[in-house]
């Protein structure tokens, strides 16, 4: 009976929770991330070529500009904004439901630190997996740019490939991934807070999840502005 009560640390359980959350946050979002990245990459390329249409600007500049907008702003920010909606609402409603049906109380009665068990693995999982998702989005965005640019005839594949290598700044990728880590923290912790402290009924859970998406999106944009100012201004 004594052994039954000792050994509080259950690292294994927490690790399994993190893996499970990585699956649901990461793999669960691959489809939507792929679709959005390809299309927006194509649109950015066509639009850039439209804006830069001038005999003085070399054609490959389209690829340079498209690449940088995708890497610096589009992939980290827009993808995380979309995930703030998708992941945020699911986290808030999951935890909110657990709160109003007393499942969180049940955890606490057992002597389990409910926020540690439910919230922390989600944050850790997002912080680990989102940079990979964002890198994937960058690659697919650029690929979409190539396909869109070639298909619409604004740039040839050779020019595009050449442009991709011109004035490539590796720091931009570092900056984008740093942003992503902050965003990952925001889009999991803010909804988790709203869900965890939801009160009342199922109706309140719905409201909490809407609030969670709005607050985390705004917080994300503010963080984006601040980080950009710090690193690039």
């Amino acid at each position: 009976m004594k052994a039954l009560i000792e050994k509080p640390e259950k690292f294994d359980v927490y690790r399994r929770q993190v893996v499970k959350e990585m699956e649901s946050i990461g793999f669960g979002s691959l489809g939507i991330v792929a679709i959005i990245s390809m299309f927006i990459g194509a649109v950015i390329t066509i639009q850039t070529s439209y804006n830069l249409l001038s005999p003085f600007v070399p054609l490959y500049a389209v690829a340079v500009v498209a690449r940088d907008s995708i890497i610096i702003e589009f992939s980290p920010t827009i993808i995380c904004l979309v995930l703030a909606g998708k992941v945020g609402s699911s986290i808030a409603s999951e935890l909110g439901t657990m709160r109003v049906t007393e499942q969180i109380d049940a955890l606490e009665i057992m002597g389990i630190n409910a926020s540690g068990y439910l919230v922390l693995p989600k944050i850790i999982a997002a912080v680990i997996i989102l940079p990979f998702i964002v890198v994937l989005s960058m690659v697919l965005g650029i690929l979409g740019g190539l396909i869109g640019g070639v298909a619409s005839g604004v740039i040839s594949a050779v020019e595009f490939a050449h442009g991709l290598q011109v004035r490539f700044v590796p720091f931009n990728v570092t900056f984008a991934l740093t942003k992503t880590v902050f965003f990952a923290y925001i889009i999991t912790s803010v909804p988790a807070f709203h869900g965890f402290y939801a009160k009342g009924s199922a109706l309140e859970v719905g409201k909490a999840s809407t609030r969670a998406v709005v607050y985390s999106s705004v917080a994300l944009l503010v963080a984006d502005y601040v980080l950009t100012q710090i690193f690039l201004a």
């Binding site: 009976m1 052994a3 039954l4 009560i5 050994k7 509080p8 259950k10 359980v13 439901t97 657990m98 049906t101 007393e102 499942q103 109380d105 049940a106 606490e108 009665i109 057992m110 002597g111 389990i112 630190n113």
Partner: protein
């Protein structure tokens, strides 16, 4: 044994519990009765620490619960089993996983030992072939029984049940009552039950505490509850027609 001493609880300006004191004895079924909204659930949640009390003290075998921090409370929490009014089963887990969860978190049991313990507790509440089902696939009574099984899986010293038989048919309700009573006596558990089921009161009330408007209004047992002269208690006990006839 749990001692509740001069407990006060307010929500904002509203006072919910006023100066409640009583003692729950070991190996006995202690009942809290009272009308809807009288403060039974709040009292129980104060005792287990889900609500912080404003005044007074809660003592588990002399250990002052209300003065402990989270880590210190953990030790007592592991000795507590609780059945919530709505069951509070983890709905992302199967029945089996619900029961195995505390074992995984707090013991070194291997897979087989856990499975045996889970099956033993499920058979204790007369449930078979539900191991792989999810809570959403169970009936209300089955959920209650799984909740009881989960509450006893760690061999608790203290068992709390918030209306274990509300919403159940009379037969299942009696099965559940008997089950709780048997477990209580068998393992010498200190059991505290919120109820307004008069059948359970008359059948199992080793100790009965009547809460009225947030105060302890009367205290007795199943022998004395029918003959008490307290007006509010009589109103509650004899609300049903059958019992009124019986009194005559």
């Amino acid at each position: 044994m749990i001692e509740i001493k001069n407990v006060n609880k307010n929500f904002g300006e509203t006072s919910i519990l006023r100066d409640v004191s009583f003692v729950c004895e070991e190996g006995k079924t202690n009942l809290i009765i009272g009308g809807s909204g009288s403060g039974k659930t709040v009292l129980m949640k104060c005792i287990v620490g889900l609500f912080e009390i404003d005044n007074g003290g809660i003592y588990y075998h002399g250990r002052s619960f209300s003065e402990l921090n989270f880590t210190e409370r953990k030790e007592i929490r592991k000795e507590i089993g609780m059945v919530f009014q709505g069951g509070a089963l983890f709905d992302s887990m199967t029945v089996e996983e619900n029961l195995a969860f505390p074992l995984t978190m707090f013991t070194d049991m291997n897979k087989n030992d856990k499975r045996d313990r889970v099956n033993f507790c499920l058979s204790r509440v007369n449930l078979e072939n539900v191991n792989k089902k999810f809570p959403s696939e169970l009936s209300g009574g089955m959920k209650k029984r799984v909740a009881i099984a989960r509450a006893i899986v760690m061999n608790p010293k203290y068992l709390f049940c918030d209306e274990p038989n509300s919403g159940l048919d009379p037969q299942t309700s009696i099965v559940i009552d008997n089950l709780i009573m048997e477990i209580t006596q068998e393992y010498g558990i200190t059991t505290l039950i919120n109820t307004h089921d008069m059948n359970s009161v008359l059948e199992h009330g080793d100790k009965i505490f009547f809460i009225y408007k947030g105060q302890l209004w009367w205290e007795g047992d199943k022998e004395t509850v029918l003959t008490a002269s307290n007006k509010e208690l009589r109103d509650l006990v004899f609300a049903s027609k059958i019992l009124r006839e019986f009194r005559k």
